[in-house]
Amino acid sequence: LMGIAGGARAAEGDLEPNSWEEITSYNNYYEFGTGKDDPARYAERLTIAPWTVRIDGLVDRPGDYAFEDILSKMTLEERLYRFRCVEAWSMVVPWTGFELADLLELAGVQSSAKYVGFETVLNRDEMPGTAYRVLDWPYVEGLRLDEAMHPLTIMATGIYGKDIPKQNGAPLRLVVPWKYGFKSIKSVVRITLTDSEPPTSWNKANAREYGFYSNVNPEVSHPRWSQATERRIGGGLFAARQDTLPFNGYGDEVAGLYAGMDLSTYF
């Protein structure tokens, strides 16, 4: 059990996880509706067994990987991570999961691969939000290969040691704790290794507002609101705002990935 990844710093001494109720009742999962309570209300319909993840593109062993087979080969651990939504709210979530790097190595990443694309399940009958073209379905996301291989990047399969609820992205979802929450794509059915930057849903919807990188950065505003501060969910009607940390507080671990890059250009 790795516990708090990279958590020796004082700032993480007071990292108190949000409650199960908070984490599972306030979600953005637009396939079930744009309201924060829509996923908790409608996601129960989603069929998650059987579940396979197609891993393809620039890998040695492309194919459909059954969820159970993946689980049997992975080492599950707990990670207590800050979660910062692009809408300027945040939580602290005790995930259970495995490192994405381990899954990618299972498929064998070829040396020509530079990026990883992800895709969320699209089952329109079970996902009422997809009746509207809020986004170009299916939801897709992407990472640079070094971001994907970073030890902080996990595929989560549980919260508080229980199976991850459907509104949180069952049965497995990406978690990249130093990026805005929308990068952490839910209910993944496909992972594609590529040599060019894969399209990402929010970037396609509004490139001016959502970049490919979307690293948490208090100094780069969303065009419509500041990202300097955030509100921790759970403080009630009089919750104070707190400062947002660069890379969501994981700068020591990940800032090196972006050495020499202008993060206001590559936002």
């Binding site: 009742s25 809020v134 065009p223 500041s226 509100r231 009607l237």
Partner: protein
Amino acid sequence: MIADRINAATRRVPSWTLYILSPLPALWWLWQGLTGGLGVEPIKALEHALGEFALQLLVVGLCITPLRRFAGVNLLRFRRAVGLIAFFYVLLHLLVWLVLDVQIPAQIWADIVKRPYITVGMAGFALLIPLALTSNNLSVRRLGGLRWRQLHRLTYAAVLLGALHFVMLAKGFQIEPLAYLIAVLGLLALRLPALETMSRRRLRG
């Protein structure tokens, strides 16, 4: 006819009942927010509930004249109350944003200037202030009916800005704010001079 029945049913309802009832939604949401009924992020929920209710009241206010003109339903007696209550809900929406949501005074001004959807919302609110201040009999007398009516045409711009504010803050392509905008545009179109003369001609018959 339905219109006659509505007119008969509302004739004996004094408009002050609206003022008496008007704080109830706000008090209910506040109570819900304090006791967990608005979910785990009650600040945004309260802010959105107040803002959407204000927009609904503004739309209701815009319906009153066309209802009389095109359907013969006369609710004119309630128009002032609806407008004033709408103004107070816009004010409450703004106060929740200032005090509970943004909290930081320096950021409030920066947001008003830098964020178009907030600029638009604030402009709509600013237009409503003179209207709220002159929504009384004394002001109608002082300004005279014509000037008062001209001033209160600002309502059209204010409601349009309110609907635009809602559209501009949505993430992705969302139906609900667009539905409000279309409703507002439709209600404003009914005020176009061509339609007005048409209805007058019809009434003269």
